[in-house]
Structure formats: C-alpha cells, structure tokens
C-alpha cells in the first residue's frame, strides 16, 4: 500500500530524480627522511619515509563540513591504533612514518541530516615515485623526493533527503540564520565563501582542479573517441573485405 504522504513526517522522504554532488580530494604525501641528518629516536630505524594520508576539501571555499561528519582512516594493522577517527572540522589527515606501501581504507561518515550510510574509499599509499618511467611527473618526484598521490573525487548524493538537500543548497551565509533574514533583493546572489560544487574557472597556483582541467580532460577523451571512431571505420572496412573473401572461398569450396 502506498504510504499516505503525511505519514512520512517521522521518516524523512527523499527528493526524487535529483542528484547533488560535492568535490573533494584524497591522497597521500610522502617524504623520505634525509639521510644525513639524525632523526628522532622515537622513530624506528627501519622507517624510511614520513607520510601523510589525507582527505581534504578542494579549496577553502569548498568546505566539507556541510556533509561530512567524520572520517575513519584504517592503516595497516602493524601500526599502533591502526583505526583513527577524525571528527568533523579538523583537518582529516594522519601523519605517520613507515617503510612500506599499503592500502589505506578511508571511511566517510556523513552528517546525520543526510541519513546515509558510511562509504569507503581505498587509497594506495605511495612512498616511491610512480608512473611511467621517465615521464615528467615521475622525474619531478624523483628530483623533489616528495611523492604525492592524489585523487579528485566527487561524492554523489542521489535522491537526498529533503532536509539534507536544503542544507546542501542553501548558501553558507543563509545557513544557520533563522529563516527569512537573508531574503534581500533579487540581485543579491552574491557568491559567499561556500562555492558548493562549483569548480574554479582556471588553473592557478594552488588550484589544481579547475574547469580548465576538466575541459582538457574532455578534449582528451573526445580525441580518443575520434581515434576510436576512425579505427572502427577501418576495422569495419576490413571486416567487410574479409567477409567477402570468405564468401568467395565458400563458393569456391562448393564448386570444387
């Protein structure tokens, strides 16, 4: 029996057919211990790197607090207290020392308004330069000694709960205020510090993920698509030829 709408008062209803996403980045940054300087005695001698695994907002204007409650990092079991929980406002990062690469489990817990279950990400911790041998990124890593492995990711809330949608779609300056205060005039669509999901327009120092990059990605993919199309044409031609040949052979075989 379909529920009568009012009865959903105690059970938050989802807004159908809508998707809201928020960008964030996660990754790791590793630096080897300098060989010449002595290091603190508290660090075991076999440890070669100091690394930080983090989950961070894209920029200060993309805060995570509206949707993220806490983050749990699960390190390798050999670490003491391998499960570390970090509550909302704080920088979601763990700094440790070690010698080995492993997969870090990053579990995201969402704010209670969202009414969503926690989600898990996996990040392969990188201590040593990676990538194609001789590529620019790799060389940079080898030179600088700093190894950063970072992923851009978007969390997608499909059909969010009403209340949560409101939280996600009300600008920061309105949020928290008692309703009605921030009506203002029509032209009052000023961009507050919270940019929500909007990406910065172009690359800048400190801005890695921008619409420009996105566009570049699109171009890359489109180019690849064109290549594929061209290849497909060739292949189709070939296929037709081959089929013809087969027909011929088949007919020959019949005759013989």
């Amino acid at each position: 029996m379909p529920r009568w709408p009012q009865s959903t008062a105690n059970q938050p209803s989802r807004v159908k057919g809508i998707q809201v996403h928020r960008p964030f980045v996660y990754g790791s940054l590793a630096t080897p211990f300098p060989t010449n300087t002595p290091r603190p005695s508290s660090i075991p001698p076999e440890h070669t790197h100091r690394w930080t695994v983090y989950l961070s907002p894209l920029s200060p204007s993309h805060p995570l607090t509206p949707w993220l409650k806490k983050v749990q990092f699960k390190l390798h079991e050999t670490y003491a207290n391998s499960t570390r929980m970090i509550e909302s406002p704080g920088p979601f990062e763990i700094t440790e020392t070690g010698w080995g690469e492993f997969e870090v489990q990053i579990k995201l817990f969402f704010v209670p308004e969202a009414g969503e279950k926690s989600q898990t990400l996996w990040h392969a911790l990188k201590l040593h330069p990676f990538g194609v041998e001789g590529s620019e990124e790799r060389l940079k890593m080898e030179r600088g000694g700093e190894v950063r492995s970072e992923c851009y990711e978007e969390v997608v809330f499909s059909e969010p709960v009403e209340g949560f949608l409101e939280v996600l779609t009300s600008p920061a300056e309105m949020r928290g205020k008692a309703g009605g205060g921030g009506k203002g005039k029509k032209g009052g669509q000023m961009v507050g510090p919270d940019r929500g999901a909007e990406l910065p327009v172009r690359d800048a120092p400190g801005v890695v993920y921008s619409q420009e990059k996105e566009q570049a990605q699109m171009v890359l993919l489109r180019e690849a698509g064109k290549t594929v199309e061209a290849l497909m044409k060739v292949e189709k031609e070939k296929l037709r030829e081959k089929e013809q040949r087969r027909e011929e052979l088949g007919r020959d075989g019949e005759r013989g």
Partner: protein
C-alpha cells in the same frame, strides 16, 4: 520455719540457691494439623498414633579445614606519607599470599619507594588493601619553551596554567573541589617597585572561570604533553584512549549537558507529571497515526473515485448505473461536480478580492521563502479538493497542506553552484562516488573483454584513474568506452572471419594439392561402406542399393555443399560460422576415420598420407579452436605441441561435440523422416555403422599406436563415437541425396 522463708519475707536474696523444681514438665498434648487430639477424635475414629520423636542434638558441622589462629599483623598504607604502621586482625596463614597477590599499581610502588626507604624496616609489612585506590595522576610537565611553542593560549597565561595544573594535581582532578578552591590572582607583570606603586597600575582582574573552562584547559595541556612525551603512534591502546578522551573534550557540549541535567533536576512535580502525560499522548498519537491516515485516505478515495468516470461515457451508456451501486456512484458524481462548481465560484470570488497574498508571496524568488511557501503555491491546484473534503462548509481558510511538497526548482546558476543535476536514468537513492561509474563503465561481461578494453584505453593514453571524474568527464568517458567496446567487438568478429578464411584456404589446398589423396579417401570410404554393407547384409540378409554411394557422399565437398545449402538461408553470421566449424571438425575426423579404414584395407602406404592430411586439417582446426576459445573467453588457452594438442583438444571438445553431433543427427533424422521410406534404412545404417566402429576397435587402436602420440583408450572411444556419429550423419545425408 526455715531460714529461706525468713529471708524471703525480708526481701533478701537467698544465700543458697533454691532447689529448682526438677520435675520434668508434663508433656503437652500433641497437636496435629493445628487441632487438638480430642477434637480430631471427634472427626476421625480413633486417635492417630503419636509419633515419638527422640530429642536430638544438632549435628556438629563438618568443616573441611583446620581452625586457624587469628593474629594481629601490622600493616601500613602506602598512600600515607607518614609511614604509620597499624595492626589488624588477620588469620594466621592469610598474610603471606595476600601480600603477594595484591596488585600493586605503579603509583603505589612509586609512592612507597619514595617515602619508606629508610624508616621501613622490612618489606614484609603488608600494604593496606585500600592503598590501590589511591591513584596518583602523572603531572603534565612542560618546560618554558615547550609552553611557548605548543601550549600558548590567548586566554590563559602561563602562571594561571601552572596554578591550574598544581591545583588539579593536588586535588586529584576532583573538579568540584578544584573549582571551589580556584582563586587565581594574577600578579602585575612589572616588578612592584615604588614607582609602579605610585603610578598605581591596575592589577589585572582574575578572569571568571567555569569548571568547563578549567577542564578543557587542563585536558588540552595534558593531552599535548602526553603527545609530546610519547608520539601518537607509539602509545599503547590505553594511553591512546586516554589521549582521545582528553582531546575530544568539548566544553560547550558539557555545559549544555549540565544545563539539561539541571533543568531536569529543577522540574516541579507538576511539570514532571505533565511531561509524562504529554509523552503518553504522543505515543498514543503515533500509534493511531496509521489508522488516521488510513481513514483519511479512504475518504479521499471516495471523493476522488467518481471523477474517474467520464461524464460523457456515462451519458453514452446508462447501463453502468443500472445497479444500486451504479446509482450511488452517479449520485456521487453529480454531487462532486456540484461541489467543484461551488469551489470554482469561491475561488473566483477570492481572487477577485485579492486575498491570496500567500500565493503572491510564493512567487517571490527568495529561496527560503520558496521553501516554506512551496506548499502554498502548489496547493492551489488541489484547493478544490481540500474544500470538497471540508464538506463545502465554507472552511477554505484552512488550506489543505500540499501532499507532495513541491521542491524548489533550481535555475542553471544554482545547479552549477550546488552541483545539482537531474539525470534521465533511474536513480538508486544513496551515496556513490563519481569514480565508481568509471569503474563500472570499463567493466565488460567477461574478464578477457575487460582486459582488452583496458588495453585499448591504455593505448589511447587514457589513464585508468581519471584525473577529474566530474559528471561531464565521466559521461564522455562512458561514451568513449562504449566506442571501444564496439571496436573490440568488431575486431573479435574480424578474427573469427580470419580464422574461417584460413580454414577455407586450408581446405582448398587440400582439395587442389592433395587431389590424389582425396581419391584414395573416396575409395577408402567406399570400401568401408561396402564393408559395412556386406556385414549388414550378413546380419540382416537384406540388400541396400543406397550403400555403395555412401562413401562418395561422405566427401568433404559434397557434404559441405549440403551444409552450405542448408545454411545459406540463415542470416545469422555467428550461427553459421559455428555450424561450419562443426562441419569442419566432422570432416577432419572423417579423414582420420578414412585413413583408419584404409589400414583396414591393408593399404599401408596410404596410411601416412591420410594421417598427414588429418593432422593438416587438425592444425587448421586447432587455430579455429583457439579462436573460439578467445571468443568464449571461458577456457584458458592451452596450447602445446601442435598436432598432438590439436587432437587432444578435439578430445576435449569431443564431449560437447558429441552432443552437437547428436543434435545434428537428430535434425537430419528429422529431415529424413520427412522422406518417409528412407527412415528405416538410415536408422539401420546408423546402428550398423556403430557396430562397425565397434568391430574395428582393435584395429583402430593398433593404428593409433603407430601414431606419434599414444592413443589412450578414452581417446579411441571418443574417436569411435564421433566416427560413428559422423558416419551416421553422412549416411543420412546420402539417403537424402538419393531421394533427390
């Protein structure tokens, strides 16, 4: 008169103990069931027997141990600083184990060692059992520069922090006591010289501190010190837990909690009572809610139902309203339309009056307003319903809340800003990460396909982890992967056709280059057939004219032709190629079979040719097989020695193929059955051929022994089986051909 009497009179105590009346007390009449015996006698005949219970003393309890002496043992309390030694009673044997078994906390032992080094004569003085409760906390220690680097706080001076820590340690973190004793008087910073006094520098006022302030400051300092002494990673779990607890302390939460508790505490009995009542009421409402909705729904259903019936249709056929139920409906329809008209009138009047400020309000583009007014704005459409449900009683002021709160619509700028999209496809509510779509896109239905796609993508320079998996990028990516999938599909197809072409070519080589062998095969087949026939003739005593032609028809070309004829109509490429492959296999085995038959005919020199041929064909088949394996993606590619393996693979496939062959046989049999009279003969033939195969068994095996790879009995069997089926197929074909 006796002396005692005189004493008695005088009121003096008797000098000699008066002889007690030693007479034993007369035994009281026994009661039974609370009744006197006499009374019982009235009810029951004869008195019940009096049970004589001998008076008995309680048995001595048996104790499993020997009684031990108690002795006064000295003890001391390590929590005391004066080293006072007291004594208490203790069992003789208890003392020793207790000293050993008592868990001595490090704090105890420290304290003990600190104070009792000299005035404690020996370690055998036992520590008090209560001493372990005297837990001392480690004082958070910090140097001046550590304070400057890590612990600085605008609100707290170093002096005050020191004072706080001192107090906290002194009172063992008993915060109630600490807050009571907390009386920090900040010293004026400059040295109190004469001049300064003259200027009269105002001494800084002590800041008012709450218990939460103190707690949070102390915990922050303690946690920081702890982390400084032992880094987070090398803490043991208990330390870590403690550290966590201290860092997680939230003074605001604590204050709020206390406020709540206080409020709860300060409730008057009336308020408490009221609250209880309200809670009961609430639970009642919640319980009844379902029923209420049900009722309301039913009401709405009833109101809505007549609408569904088209009035025009009702006019067209009055038969609907023949029954009493129908009449009821008709009445309701009419009432409904009446109400609707009324409602419309009312609506018009109202809009004329211009009272619908609410709707006007909702048109203003403020987001917050839209949210609250959304219900009101959308409610207009259903207001007629609402008033109808109100019974047309003119109660339109209280508007029906909109059942589905229409959500605000976002314009383009807002969509971009808040990352909102309205995807076309069906959504599953929940949370995903965007990159999951990328992973899903590049996954094909089989592992090999997936690796192929990934290889292709890598070749195109697309990394497996996209740099920025945004919505648009992922959509583009999906499109690309779709293209790649198609490409891979086409390639697969081409490879298949390639394989086919190879087979055809190989076959043509056979047909052209090895014509002589073909002839021999023919003759061999013929002879086999005649052999079979003769045997059959022996068995059944019936001659079949069809037989001699069987061998000829068993040839590749004619057979394939047949097959081709059948299949050419089929548009489906895949089905066709498969069928052809099968034919190919059959042909190949036929060759082998033929060669074997040749051996039977003692044509030894022909044997090698036959085998060579067979292997030739089998090689082609092997390629084919590999192709097929690629396509199927299920089997691992097991390549090995060319010829032997080819045959081995044949064997592997023989099971499936037997099935296939059988199916084919059946098909063909069906075809033959159409022909009618040929059925019996062909059936017989099949049987006979099988028998032939059986008979030839030793020979065939002997032949296989000659071959480079040793033929196991299983293989021989499978071969035989196949040969039988092939022959049967051939014979079927032959009969068909005959019919033609």
């Amino acid at each position: 008169m006796m002396g005692s009497d005189a004493r008695d009179m005088m009121g003096l105590p008797s000098a000699v103990p008066t002889p007690k009346p030693t007479l034993p007390k007369a035994p009281k009449p026994k009661m039974k069931g609370g009744m006197a015996r006499e009374v019982l006698d009235l009810n029951f005949e004869g008195a019940p027997p009096i049970s004589i219970v001998a008076p008995k003393f309680k048995e001595k309890p048996k104790i499993p141990f020997k009684p031990r002496r108690w002795e006064q043992t000295p003890f001391m309390n390590s929590a005391r600083k004066d080293g006072l030694v007291l004594r208490h009673w203790k069992r003789e044997g208890d003392a020793a184990p207790n000293v050993a078994g008592l868990p001595v906390t490090p704090a105890d032992s420290n304290a003990a060692s600190e104070m009792d080094t000299d005035d404690r004569p020996a370690a055998n003085i036992e520590d008090s059992r209560a001493a372990k409760w005297n837990v001392r906390i480690d004082r958070p220690r910090y140097s001046a520069e550590e304070y400057d680097t890590h612990l600085k706080n605008a609100d707290w001076s170093k002096e005050e922090t020191d004072y706080l820590v001192d107090l906290a340690i002194e009172f063992d973190l008993r915060w109630v006591v600490i807050i009571d004793r907390y009386d920090f008087r900040p010293q004026p910073k400059s040295e109190p010289s004469e001049d300064a006094m003259a200027i009269d520098t105002p001494t800084p006022h002590p800041k008012p501190r709450t218990m939460e302030d103190l707690k949070s400051r102390y915990y922050a300092v303690a946690a920081k010190c702890m982390a400084l002494r032992t880094p987070l990673s090398s803490m043991n779990p208990t330390e870590f837990e403690e550290h966590e607890k201290m860092t997680k302390f939230d003074p605001r939460k604590e204050t709020v909690r206390k406020q709540y508790v206080e409020k709860l505490f300060l409730r008057t009995p009336e308020e408490a009572h009221e609250e209880e009542l309200l809670l009961k009421e609430l639970s009642r409402i919640v319980l009844n809610q379902e029923k209420l909705y049900e009722d309301r729904r039913a009401l709405y259903d009833r109101l809505e139902a007549p609408r569904a019936i088209n009035p025009a249709a009702a006019h067209a056929s009055t038969t609907v309203y023949q029954s009493s139920q129908g009449l009821q409906q008709l009445m309701q329809t009419m009432m409904q339309s009446q109400r609707l008209r009324d409602a419309e009138k009312r609506e018009k009047r109202r809009s004329a009056l211009g009272v619908d400020t609410e709707t006007a309000n909702s048109h203003s583009s403020s987001a917050a307003d839209l949210r609250t007014g959304g219900g009101g704005g959308g409610g207009g459409g259903r207001s007629s319903m609402g008033s109808a449900s109100a019974g047309g009683g003119g109660g339109h002021e209280k508007r029906q809340p909109h059942p589905t709160p229409q959500h605000r619509h976002f314009n383009q700028a807002e969509r971009v800003r808040f990352g909102i999209s309205y995807p076309q496809e069906r959504l599953t509510s929940g949370v995903q990460f965007r990159h999951e779509r990328v992973v899903k896109a590049s996954q094909a239905k089989s592992a090999v396909q997936t690796t192929r796609i990934n290889d292709a993508l890598a070749e195109l320079g697309i990394p497996s982890r996209l740099l920025m998996p945004t919505n648009r990028v992922v959509t583009e990516y999906e499109r690309l992967v779709e293209g790649v999938k198609q490409l891979v599909e086409i390639r697969k197809m081409r490879e298949k056709v390639d394989g086919e072409i190879k087979i055809w070519e190989a076959q043509r080589r056979l047909a052209n280059g090895d014509g002589a062998d073909e002839v021999d095969d023919q003759t061999a087949g013929e002879s086999a057939a005649t052999n079979a026939q003769s045997e059959q003739a022996k068995d059944e005593g019936a001659s079949k004219e069809a037989e001699p032609k069987e061998g000829e028809n068993g040839e590749d070309a004619s057979k394939v032709e047949n097959k081709e004829d059948d299949d050419e109509e089929e548009a489906d490429e895949a089905a066709r190629t498969k069928a052809e492959e099968k034919v190919e296999d059959e042909d190949e085995t036929e060759h082998l079979e033929n060669s074997r038959l040749e051996v039977e005919e003692d044509v030894k020199d022909e044997d090698e040719d036959g085998d060579g041929e067979g292997s030739n064909a089998s090689q082609a088949v092997e390629e084919e097989d590999e192709d097929e394996e690629d396509d199927d993606d299920e089997e691992e590619e097991g390549e090995g020695e060319a010829e032997a393996e080819a045959e081995g693979e044949d064997e592997e496939q023989s099971d499936d193929e037997d099935d296939d062959d059988e199916g084919e046989n059946e098909d063909e049999r069906a075809e033959v059955e159409k022909d009618g009279n040929a059925v019996n003969s062909s059936e017989n033939q099949v049987d006979d051929n099988n028998e032939d195969g059986e008979n030839e068994d030793p020979e065939a095996e002997a032949n296989e022994a000659n071959e480079p790879d040793d033929g196991s009995s299983t293989r021989a069997r499978s071969m035989r089986k196949r040969s039988a089926s092939v022959i049967s197929a051939v014979s079927n074909k032959s009969t068909k051909r005959q019919k033609k």
